[in-house]
């Protein structure tokens, strides 16, 4: 299991959409290396024959009928929005100007 390095943290921060300064990347890499080292035994704990458990209590087929329930008003929907216009959520440009 590879140790986690600074470049890797930078890539992960990009995937996770968290801007990080160089100092922060260095610190995070050091801390994560320690944590990853301490949990790596997990990968050797269980053999191939052990099934994975994704839900603690196994349930199946929990479904609802196709019946319309409540909706928020447009005002309620937009009430927490950092920015809105014309009844819609407003976000900065998606692409950089080229």
């Amino acid at each position: 299991m590879a140790a986690i390095n600074r470049d890797e943290v930078a890539h992960l921060a990009q995937l996770a959409h968290i801007e990080m300064s160089d100092d922060e990347l260095d610190r995070m890499a050091t801390e994560l290396a320690v944590i990853v080292d301490s949990i790596k035994s997990v990968s050797e704990a269980a053999g191939d024959d052990v099934p994975a458990t994704s839900h603690p209590i196994p349930l199946t087929n929990v479904m609802r009928e196709d019946v319309v329930g409540h909706v928020l008003t447009v005002e309620e929907a937009l009430s927490g929005a950092p920015d809105a216009a014309s009844g819609r959520f407003k976000v900065p440009a998606i692409l950089e100007e080229s």
């Binding site: 996770a16 099934p51 309620e76 950092p82």
Partner: protein, 517 residues
């Protein structure tokens, strides 16, 4: 009865006084609001609350009094006030998850548990402090400052639900709601000398609890007595069609179990791997005494081994951050909460999201998001997340084998008593070790209860005793917990919180001392 005596009684005793019209709901609620005003604020206050809901709480109380006067049949806990962990969304009060990223956010909907509290007409006193997004074991990771332990204002109240536990320990509320992902109800209960229960996964709806790790999170009661937790779990529990992992089992029989008070012939398993080495001397000593008390009450004590528990912490620190990294992706400054613009460079949505998340999340949250992103990323999934899910199976197998031999399991709740504020904040790993005994229950979905087991000799601070039962057998926890509680209180001559320092004085003196400096 003075206001001070009133707020120190149990929730069930308060309910009885309300029913007998010895006290009004408004008086009871006001007494708690006064107590909050007295001990919670200021430079050295407990700081259990992030928001106090004065007007609404009093209005609900007045409504209860009017209904009672009119002879209306009310829920047993109607008029008994309660505090709500600020991870649970509430209409009419801010919900922050103790994060800057949600500062000022008002939910347009109520969590299912909050709807149930409202239906029972319990006045909501306010929202309690926590580690940001429930990530921590000390409440020091709150973006709004730490909560202090009422036993020693320089110490942590545990976490993430330090606010709920401290509020109950400081008599600011008789009851509170907590959430427990790896011990966030039980560990704060242990270090504050209070009772807390993580119900069976699915026994209480998670709808409206801000998710950290969906397959581990569970809402549960925080109280000063075992019976009070049982009363509260019966209010908040039960099937919810809005939560697909909700169980259809009825949430009844808990109060009855707490009132049974008999462990004769029950088998209690001591988990070999969860005491001894790594556990503080005073914790170990109080734990052994509790085991002996149960034996003296007629329980058969059996040692059991759960060999895979040694992988639990590692599995937890893969599953929890993986799910958290995903659950926290929605905090991006688009639909709700804070938005931060990048300091320089082009203004694109991607950069705004990244700047918002950089400014809005604290260090521990970022650490877990990055760790979770790592564990789920291409090439590592099988080794990390996949392996952790397998360990989960092994831990469930350990529990199954143990519960084939015994009715309940017992261990210390936390390996240590409350440590000093700031002591572990820069050492994430040692912080994570606080949850070593509580995490297995979350991985397996089984219920766990903590109750006070006395004070450690070396520091005079509370020690927690944890009981664990098979999934859907929450009633057993209440049955055994009530017996142990009554045996211990008989030894102490009253509740353990009677031994806590007089807080009002402490807060005042401390604040004065600080001012003098």
């Amino acid at each position: 009865m003075t206001a001070n005596e009133l707020i120190r009684s149990s929730a069930s005793a308060m309910a009885a006084k309300l029913a007998a019209k010895e006290v009004s709901a408004v008086e009871l609620t006001q007494a708690h609001l006064d107590r909050i005003a007295e001990v919670d604020g200021g430079a050295r206050g407990v700081h259990a609350f992030l928001h106090v809901n004065t007007d609404e709480a009093l209005a609900v109380a007045a409504d209860v009094d009017a209904r009672r006067a009119a002879g209306e049949e009310l829920h047993e806990l109607a008029g008994v006030p309660i505090a709500v962990k600020d991870l649970i969304v509430t209409k009419g009060q801010p919900t922050t998850a103790a994060s800057k990223i949600l500062e000022g956010w008002m939910s347009p909907y109520d969590a299912t548990v909050v709807k149930k509290l409202r239906a029972a007409r319990m006045p909501l006193l306010g929202k309690t402090n926590l580690d940001e997004f429930a990530m921590g074991s000390s409440t020091e990771h709150s973006a709004y400052g730490p909560t202090r332990n009422p036993w020693d204002l320089d110490r942590i109240p545990g976490g993430s639900g330090g606010g709920s536990a401290a509020a109950v320990a400081a008599f600011e509320a008789p009851l509170a709601l907590g959430t427990d992902t790896g011990g966030s109800i039980r560990q704060p209960g242990a270090v504050t000398g209070t009772v807390g229960v993580k119900p069976t996964y699915g026994a209480v709806s998670r709808y409206g609890a801000i998710a950290m790790a969906s397959s581990l999170d569970q809402i549960g009661p925080v109280s000063r007595t075992v019976l009070d937790s049982a009363l509260l779990q019966e209010v908040i529990g039960g099937y919810d069609p809005l939560d697909s992992t909700s169980l259809t089992d009825p949430s009844t029989g808990l109060v009855a179990a707490a009132r049974v008070g008999n462990v004769k012939g029950m088998k209690v398993g001591v988990i070999k791997e969860l005491h001894g080495e790594g556990f503080q001397t005073g914790v170990e000593k109080r734990f052994n005494e509790s085991v002996e008390l149960l034996r003296s009450a007629g329980a058969e004590i059996v040692e059991v081994s759960c060999p895979n528990f040694r992988y639990a912490l590692g599995a937890y620190y893969l599953i929890m951050p993986s799910e958290a990294s995903s659950n926290l992706a929605k905090y991006d400054g688009v639909r709700f909460g804070m938005r931060t613009l990048p300091a320089e460079g082009p203004l694109t949505i991607e950069r705004v999201m990244s700047a918002t998340r950089a400014a809005g999340f604290g260090d521990e949250v970022k650490r877990r998001i990055i760790l979770g992103t790592y564990a789920l990323s291409a090439g590592y999934y099988d080794a990390y997340y996949g392996s952790a899910q397998k360990v989960r199976t092994l831990i469930q197998n350990d529990f199954a084998a143990a519960f084939a031999q015994v009715d309940v399991l017992i261990s210390p709740t936390s390996p240590v008593t409350a440590f000093k504020l700031g002591e572990k904040i820069h050492d994430p790993l040692s912080m994570y070790l606080n949850d070593i005994a509580t995490i297995p229950a979350n991985l397996a979905g089984v219920p766990g209860l903590t109750l006070p087991g006395g004070l450690a000799d070396e520091d005079g601070l509370p020690v927690g005793i944890q009981l664990l039962a098979p999934a859907r057998e929450d009633a057993r926890l209440y049955r055994v917990g009530a017996v142990l509680e009554s045996l211990l209180e008989a030894q102490w001559g009253g509740p353990i919180l009677d031994k806590a320092p007089a807080l009002a004085e402490l807060v005042k003196t401390a604040a004065a001392a600080k001012e003098a400096n």
